[in-house]
Symmetry: C4
């Protein structure tokens, strides 16, 4: 296997006007296969495209006499005040994008001050990530092994590091048909040390191989197991239906994470944003909701919060920031989204994140 060389940029990123700017620039610094893996979606990419378009299905009406000034995008999660309700989504193998890998992104998230979600498929091992975060809240995204003893061992490690929550990804029990990866004959050029017990050698393995190493057969029992064994709050990620909401909460889930995996899993399904309102109705404030899949703008953050999300997570934009500017690039992405969010808050007439959550969007009748 050819040696893998990717970006080693460290920011600041110049001339960075919005997060859409980053993808074509990241394409130039990340090797083709790795970029394809990060950027592409499943099948015809219908769902990927919908993830973006769907934000136009709801409209923000300016409220202009709300006595707002210097709106405050900060929010408190588990007693920790974060700069904005925008957190890092779990993304596999940050070393695809920048030599600094998860260390770079952890530092960027720390500097911005928000929550970092560590992927099971990280290209850096858990203790190093935790150390780089310097006390910034860390959550752990879990792809289950078929072997519960291995799962227990991973949970033990997670707990020992003081990680705050476990996010069980449930929408990727097999890999989606990532045709770009097939055409590029993409195999992972880096290892995934966190899951080395069930995936000892990641280098040279395809995405399907990697997903195939994890557990396919997920049900409420797995949530119960992880809740009981870990004692940590468990969020279920990849939820888009009321049925799954109820199953998850009944099994002890402490949060619901609405996502379609960035359009990377099941093509022909809805935009995650279109599902959010259904999920929020089913959750009915019983547990917090995290939302990802398509956030590229401050207005998207606003619309997701106004549709029931408590937090939003960003994946690709942060990874592109990492590629183009290392830890500083990651921080800039969060800064940019926050800056846009504040502008939207001011113009929409919302002083606080709580105001956004009570804000009523208008349905776009003309789509």
């Amino acid at each position: 296997m050819k040696e893998f060389k990717t970006s080693n940029a460290e920011g600041p990123i110049e001339n960075f006007v919005n997060t859409y700017d980053l993808e074509p620039r990241a394409e130039k610094v990340i090797p083709k296969g790795a970029f394809g893996y990060i950027a592409s979606g499943a099948g015809d990419e219908f769902t990927l495209r919908e993830n973006d378009r769907a934000f136009n299905h709801k409209l923000i009406i300016p409220h202009v006499l709300e006595n707002v000034e210097n709106p405050d995008p900060s929010t408190v999660v588990d007693g920790h005040k974060i700069t904005a309700p925008i957190i890092l989504a779990p993304v596999a193998a940050h070393k695809l994008a920048n030599d600094s890998g998860e260390i770079g992104s952890a530092k960027g998230v720390h500097n911005f001050n928000t929550i970092y979600t560590t992927s099971s498929y990280s290209s850096v091992d858990l203790p190093e990530i935790t150390e780089a975060l310097q006390g910034t809240p860390e959550w752990f995204q879990f792809y289950f092994s078929k072997d519960n003893e291995i799962n227990k061992h991973i949970i033990d490690r997670v707990k020992a590091l003081g990680i705050k929550k476990i996010i069980l990804t449930a929408d990727a029990t097999v890999g989606g048909n990532r045709e770009v990866d097939i055409r590029n004959q993409f195999v992972f050029p880096v290892n995934m040390p966190i899951v080395q017990e069930y995936l000892p050698e990641g280098v040279g393995k395809s995405m399907n191989y990697v997903y195939g190493s994890a557990k396919q057969k997920l049900s409420a029992k797995d949530i119960e197991f992880i809740v009981n064994y870990s004692g940590l709050p468990v969020y279920v990620k990849g939820v888009q239906s009321a049925e799954d909401v109820n199953r998850a909460i009944d099994a002890g889930a402490a949060g619901i994470w609405v996502s379609n995996h960035g359009g990377r899993q099941l093509d022909g399904g809805p935009a995650a944003f279109d599902s959010l309102q259904y999920v929020a109705q089913a959750v009915n404030h019983r547990v917090p909701i995290v939302f990802d899949s398509g956030i590229r703008r401050g207005q998207h953050v606003f619309k997701a919060l106004a549709s029931g999300a408590d937090l939003v997570a960003v994946g690709r934009p942060a990874v592109y920031g990492l590629a183009l500017g290392g830890s500083k690039g990651v921080e800039q992405v969060f800064d940019k989204l926050t800056e846009e969010l504040k502008m939207v808050m001011q113009l929409a007439g919302t002083q606080t994140v709580d105001d956004i959550k009570h804000y009523q969007l208008r349905d776009n009748k003309f789509v």
Copy 2:
């Protein structure tokens, strides 16, 4: 008339990622007129395009906690277990696409193990097709002659070969305005031996001539005739309305085949998939439903089954597979759709075909 030379490829097809890949590649190996005949639709091709787009009118919501692993796409039809609920649609004159003609496609269908539907306008005679199928279930698609004695004779031959069902095509009593064929001045370069009694010489005849040789005036009486004379289960193909459903079933039809003939007949009508739900409601589980027109993806198969179909049929993709890879290419097309279907089943949370049939799609409000 110029000698007709088409592909004689025998697979496997390389770099075959999805069935959409095949059409432009088939265009390079099939002579222009023949390719135009296969690929094109009627009129402005509005209905042809809708056949594809319509699948986005319904959305698959991932159900992520359904305890699914290695989903089983097989289904049992008349006591015969087939690999997937995906069968071969009747398509005229396979020799347009590959010298092996129906022999090649029959072998491919046999190797995959599903149902083969023999077109009245096959370029190979019945016994040879049946022999190539080696016991794989065969159905016979019937274009009626104006002369019932000829029809009886054809039915006698069909029965003698042990063919299991008769599919009466009712939506092509005249040919659609296939303008591509007109522009290409397309005439059939091969004979159609099954209907030689009413169409003795197919070579050099236009599509309109061929259709004009068959019976125009179809009604419930024709269904009664064929049911009574053959004693076989008769499906009526080309149904999109509740009126036709009821007429057909009342006349003894044993199945309903929803189709708009691949967008080749009446332009300005709906996508077949959009009609499926109306038909399913009218059928109300009285008889099985077969669906064709637009299936290109495993997710399309899933959506059709979840909308009331018991089986789906594919035409053009299989013929392109035949052109590019002979019998092996046909098999690969069925394999690919099945592989995609299994992935969708896993991600949607459905273990069996029966689970798909009970799965509830979400209407896409944003089209």
Copy 3:
């Protein structure tokens, strides 16, 4: 003023597959200004484009067991059997398209056997057109003069020639903003002898000048005047609202002509086809309905009849036929639409024009 030279073609038109083929070919044989006048619409041409797209708002569902064979598109109007319910719309100055002018189109209409509507702005005088029609039914489209004595004189001439109906155009009391004409600095290069009493010299006059010469202030009283003075059946053309339907019928109109003047008058209004159903509901079978604006296909004819029209009229396609093939070209256009209509009738399951009128289209929910 430069001498005006246009096509003098006399058919048959070769390689004529559908009426859409004709516009780009006509553009090559008609001088630019004249072609722009014929082809263009008002303003942004939104309404012009909608005229075409709107036919997709309703869908024809094939009815496949209706016992149809050789469907009959003929219909009887005032005791005269015409070949199809497709008539010639009034169009100004046929000499723009072909030296034969209205003589050519009259002969074509005669040979096809349908109704000819003579425009007030014809480039040939009434008696010559009537003579060329050789007994084929002729209707007269009227742009009122501001001077009723002139109107009476024109009516007298019309009656003396045995013309059967008067069509009062009411939607063009000023010219629409035909920006293509303005950009081309188009002025009429031919005279309009029928209205020479109020527009003595048409050559060199702009469209706005010509329209400005006619009467602006139309109301129910004008219908009453023309009904009473002429004693002929009077149709009101350009109706799209229930209000105008009721005003016209109450004032004695014998028919309603739904049209938006081919998208040439008020941009920002609906497709004429979208208005047809509203008008049909308001008319409620009290008087016949003629429909124009956008008919390019047999399926359009079918959809208009199934939406309440008794006859449809075609303008531009016939004029393009005239440009490309003189009288024969006009005939070919009617033949082509009729051929397509018959195919649609067969596939939709309708034996007669009356069957079409009772046929139920399906609303397209996906536009």
Copy 4:
């Protein structure tokens, strides 16, 4: 800072067919940064594009028997008869477009005879504008200072000049994310003398700096203050919600100005035209409504009036007219819109502006 050189054209503008013609031509005569500032919208320009498209959501149905001739577009505002219900929207710094600046536009508005709205950010001081208007009605658009003593001083000046109304812009308490300006590194090359007390030096300042100098924290109290201190009728500009309508009127507003600031402030919100009907319903004829954002056609004026507006305002088209033809160009823009409006009035069957206000548009079901 580089010397700023822009157009010094003085009309008439040649070959001016519709206002859409002007933008690409203005782009050639206005320096890039200034043109970008004028033409661009916020963010992805979704809302900017919607402003134009939204007019197709409502359709004008021709009423053809309404006895209309030479329709009268004039209307009376505060006892002053203006040529058409089309006024000048407040636009910053006309000197960006033409050396004559607000003097040129004031003369154009005077010659056409309509209402001139003076922007707080004018590049010419109040008395000179008032003088150039020669008695033509003038309204004053106000961006509040954070310091009410400055606000009082400005109001004193406004009143002293006999200005008739104050328009409080409430939708721009911060600048929208005008990414074109960021990419162009646009800073204002001209001063803004009216607000020099709180923005002493405009030259070289960014849009964000300028907006940041004004007051962010607006509420009903500010309306009360300005109403009470000025004694003038106060309109609130930037209203799109029923909540703001009620707050504004309850606080003493004498008019509501529906606008989304030409798509320049909050991207991801609705077209202003789509909001107009909601606002009109909430206002319920208690106060007059002015509408801007997207008016480019006479049909747009008509549709806005028929949707509840009493007056419409135009911004960019007038500024482009100024760039291309100075005062004469401004006048031509108003003339063109009026000419189009008259044509629409005639074809829609409305004799007066009041008739338009009682005209019922048809919802476009097909968008």
